[in-house]
């Protein structure tokens, strides 16, 4: 599985201008995906775990353009879909997959790890259940340590996964767990919604054409809550996200909280739909757009401390200006949406 580095230099019409400027200046970082569907225990779970993993794999490759070679999908029974499944989800194969990514990736790349299945927590040891010996949080911590310099999005969507946060937390790492502790042992629904965030079209809340890890987390978190509420049952899973490295996950991260900032910049897609940047007029528009987006972002962060009328008037002016700039960019380069 080799990596095809994205070398295009240009302007993303549907990405944020910050990412857009980055794209103008440097090769886009690559994305590497490892999906592990653990041991099911019974046919219904085997099926559900496989389906979720397959949907994630398809979303990564088909919707977000991650090269097939960069996606590794390990499952309990590889024979059920040889085209998609790259190996058995044993401890040994998982370690091999991490080693392969470590060797082919480079600094700045995103390594996206998703665990789907059952988990447990006993005697202070949090585990993810796979065929054969389980993988503990400590095992995964070692594997991630081998990815130094890469950005890591590690999502453990299994039951009793909450105790994975502290051992795995670190710089440039976003750790997501489906539960807030090892005590939440019931079957989780988080994986279903988390995958749907990437596979469906509803999680892109800022409408930039991409789904950030933060958006996917927020989507899954809300839908999990809604599911329990609709069913009239008590919620037995409370997902956490930690990306500031303090080892303390929170349930509702935003751009305004300590956690959430890194996850908001983690995308499966590095961006596409580039346009040439040699036109000075366009370059100026891009810079204007970047400035407006930065101003809007700054204003939104100061909303609580800003007089409401001032906030509204300033925001409206900025939004209108941004809309006009975006329209000029579109008019200049009528590129299809990705």
């Amino acid at each position: 599985m080799g990596v095809a580095p994205q070398t295009g230099v240009g302007v993303m019409l549907h990405g944020s201008a910050i990412a857009l400027l980055y794209a103008l200046q440097a090769p886009a970082p690559a994305t590497h995906v490892i999906i592990v569907a653990g041991v099911g225990g019974e046919p219904a779970y085997q099926q559900a775990f496989f389906e979720a993993g397959a949907a994630m794999s398809d979303a990564a490759t088909q919707r977000f353009g991650v090269p097939d070679a960069n996606v590794t999908f390990l499952a309990e029974r590889p024979e059920r879909d040889r085209a998609r499944i790259d190996g058995k989800s044993t401890k040994a194969d998982v370690e091999k997959a991490f080693a392969a990514v470590a060797s082919r990736s480079r600094a700045g790349d995103l390594v996206f790890v998703l665990l789907i299945g059952h988990g447990s927590a006993m005697n202070g040891s949090a585990r993810f259940n796979v065929p054969g010996p389980d993988l503990t949080a400590a095992d995964f911590a070692k594997l991630i340590d081998g990815l130094e310099g890469r950005r890591v999005a590690f999502i453990n969507a299994a039951s009793a996964s909450g105790d994975f946060v502290a051992p795995l937390a670190g710089k440039d790492r976003a750790i997501v767990t489906a539960t807030k502790s090892g005590m939440e042992r019931n079957e989780t629904t988080f994986a279903k919604f988390f995958v749907a965030a990437y596979a469906g079209g509803d999680a892109d809340s800022d409408k930039d054409g991409r789904v950030s890890l933060l958006e996917a987390f927020e989507y899954a978190r809300r839908e999990v809550a809604r599911g329990y509420e609709d069913a009239g049952t008590l919620r037995t899973e409370h997902a956490l996200l930690d990306d500031d490295g303090d080892g303390k996950g929170i349930e509702a991260p935003t751009l305004r909280t300590g956690d959430g900032a890194l996850a908001s910049r983690m995308f499966l897609s590095a961006g596409s739909a580039a346009i040439a940047s040699s036109d000075p007029r366009l370059a100026a528009l891009v810079r204007t757009k970047a400035g407006l987006e930065a101003s809007i972002d700054s204003l939104r962060r100061r909303k609580a401390s800003t007089d409401s009328l001032t906030y509204e008037q300033t925001l409206e002016r900025l939004l209108i200006e941004l809309a006009m700039v975006d329209r000029q960019l579109r008019d200049a380069n009528p590129v299809k949406k990705p």
Partner: protein, 883 residues
Amino acid sequence: MLLLVLSCVMLLSCGNDGTWALSQQDPEGAARTALREGRYDDAISAFRALTGRDGGGSVVARRGLVDALSAVGRYDEAEAAARTFVAAGDVQLQRALGDVLRRRGKRDDAAAAYAAAVSGGASDSLLARVSAAELLLAGGDRAGAMREFDHFIDVWNDRRPALSSDELMAVAIACRHLGADNPELFKDALKAFDAAIAKDPEALAPRVGAAELFLEKYNLADARSAIEAVLQVNPRHPDALLASARRQYAEGEPGTMESVRAVLEVNPGHVPARAMLAQLLLDTEDYAGAAAQADSALAIDPASSEALAMRGAVQSLRGDDAGFAATRRQALAVRPRDASFFATLGEVSARNRHYRRAQEFAGEGVALDSTSWHAWGVLGENQLRNGEIAAGRASLERAFAGDPYTVRVKNTLDLLDTFDGYREITSGRFLMMAEAKDADLLALYVAPLGEEAYDSLVARYGIRPEPPIRIEFFRSHADFSVRTVGLAGLGALGVSFGTTLAMDSPAARAKGEFNWGSTFWHELAHTFTLGASAHEVPRWFSEGLSVLEERRAREGWGANVTLDFLAAWKGDLLVPVSRMNDGFMRPAYPQQVIHSYYQASLVCEMIEREFGAKALTDMLLAWRDGLSTAQVFERVLRLDPEELDKRFATWLDERFGARRDAVEPARLRRATDDARTGRLEVPPGNYVAALERATRTLQAGDTAAAIREFDAAREIFPEYTGEASPYRALAAISVARGDEPAAIAALRTVVHSDETSYEAHRLLATLLEQQGESAGAARVLERAMYIWPFDLADHQRLAELLTATANTQAVVRERRAVVALAPTDRAEAYYQLAKALLDAGDRTQARREVLRALEEAPSFREAQDLLLTLQRGTSTPPGGGIQ
């Protein structure tokens, strides 16, 4: 000869378990055991034998005789016996004499007897002293009484180890009263009751005392334990039986009246039991019966506060102002500062739906005695019921500060503390309160439905209740229950206090468990029927009209006929119209309350059909004028109650006669397999068996035959559309066969007769949409919102369907609903709302919402385009605002 008589008496008092020998050896002990176990006649005979005609015998035997006679209400004999003993110079009987006199309302004589017991140094002088203090309290000398009660603190502190069980009980009684000024002493009262029990584990009186204290504080679980401990020993203990009845009443358990009657069987002269019976009869609006009980009680004890309150309540509820004024004077003459008379009146008034009057009575109570925490509690509860939230909270806080151990008050204050998480939204004539997360969504439906209902009900009942009508929704049923009665466990879905309504939020129950729209309409109908009758309408009639109004509001809303209702009718279990309130207040079987709602609605329906719609409003006006129910029947319908009973029975026969056979018990039995053929035996007309056969046929794969058999079952009882009905099965079969028109026909029947069939509504909407009937699909989905309004996808779908029908205002409502449900994709939700607003011609709001969308997602292309479109077409300067 004398010996022979004595032996016979003792023989009667002994069982077959070997106590005979014991009773011969210890006849006094045997008599005491008989008294303790409630074998009162045996005890009286034995004590009489022990005391003889000349007043001999021990003090224990003498007191035992007086106590046993009092326990069965033979007060004349008890007083005579006590006086005989006292006349013979026995100071030890003065307290017992005082108790008998007190039970008969002879308070001055009782006080003299207690004083004699105290000054004479009787062994039960502490009991006498605490009883004397209670008389002082009742007579209005609160300060003097409290000084006396306070003396018992010293008794406890100085002599506790030496105190007898009776003396410890005296301390407990004193502490219970002192608790009014220092609530911590309620705990000491319990401690003293416990100590009295520990001192004499066989003593029942302290257990009853503890139970009464628990009841007073609505600690019903502990009350139950204490009562059961007494009744296990003495199942005929009058005070324990009454305490048991009070607990049942507080918990809304059936059988309360039977329990009170059990007290009166033991002791027909039990004044508190007579007063309680009067209260129960008032609940069923049997004013004459209640008055008779109050009079009987007052004949025994003319100064009984409880009985006077009941007499006053009857007079108040009957509108007998002069009589009430006289009773009020009498009560105040006996107890010039006794707020409990007014607090009780307040409680009874509230139970009879006179919440404003209840508030006024409780107000009088606190004006009379500002330390009556009971009255403050009643005042606060009714201020809340009348929508005076701040004042109600203040009153309850005062009650709580004085007595923090009353569960109802504590519960209600706890609930009020959660109101910070609620929002109030005023729209038109309604003020809606709901938990913040639900408020915006519910308001979208509550306001228009409320306005529609208000206009409809104004037209029918001719009154305009003063806006705003306050409607509160509670996400927790327990919270709704506390809001209504101060305790958890109320079975109802909603309540109307007049212009304040409270009900379960749709989120309080599982999807498909109830229809909140019809419930809201139902409660609002009460507002009108209570208003039109000045709150004098009997409960059954008000409920009947409310159910009828539900049915008028939407096809399929309101109770519908069920198999078990018809079975109850067939089995003569339904109450006659003349006793319709019993069906609500004294249900004779578990389903009777449910059946009574439907039955009452049928009575109203019959009256409307046979006497005209005006008859219904004329009846309300007749009740308002103070007529009794029989007089109302006579004035408006020209029928006496028996004639109306017959008329309704005939009407029911005509209405449901064709279904009579379907509910033959034999036809509701499950089918049996024929032993010879192995096939299911289905007797003709057996609905249950026919359904079972059709289901088996379907399971066997013979769909065509199953359809025929489900059709046949449907013919037997076409009104039934529940989960197991043929309609649902036929719909499922038709969907599987791709016969959408047939499925639609079956589902239409279901949704138009079952107001809670959420999934059937959704499926029907889907099928209609597939058939290109967008408007029909939208109508069905709109109905589903009154069952479960929290499904985001339902609102998105409905918005799209409504867009196709060009109902722009409804589209806006649905797009607002999506926003209110806090979708993950908020930018899209705001954008769609903005588009809907623009389509509806509201550019200002559209601009506001599109800015919200862009605030979430600044580069959202479609929203940017809409903003620029709006920008071009408006003169509003940038900064028009996001709110």
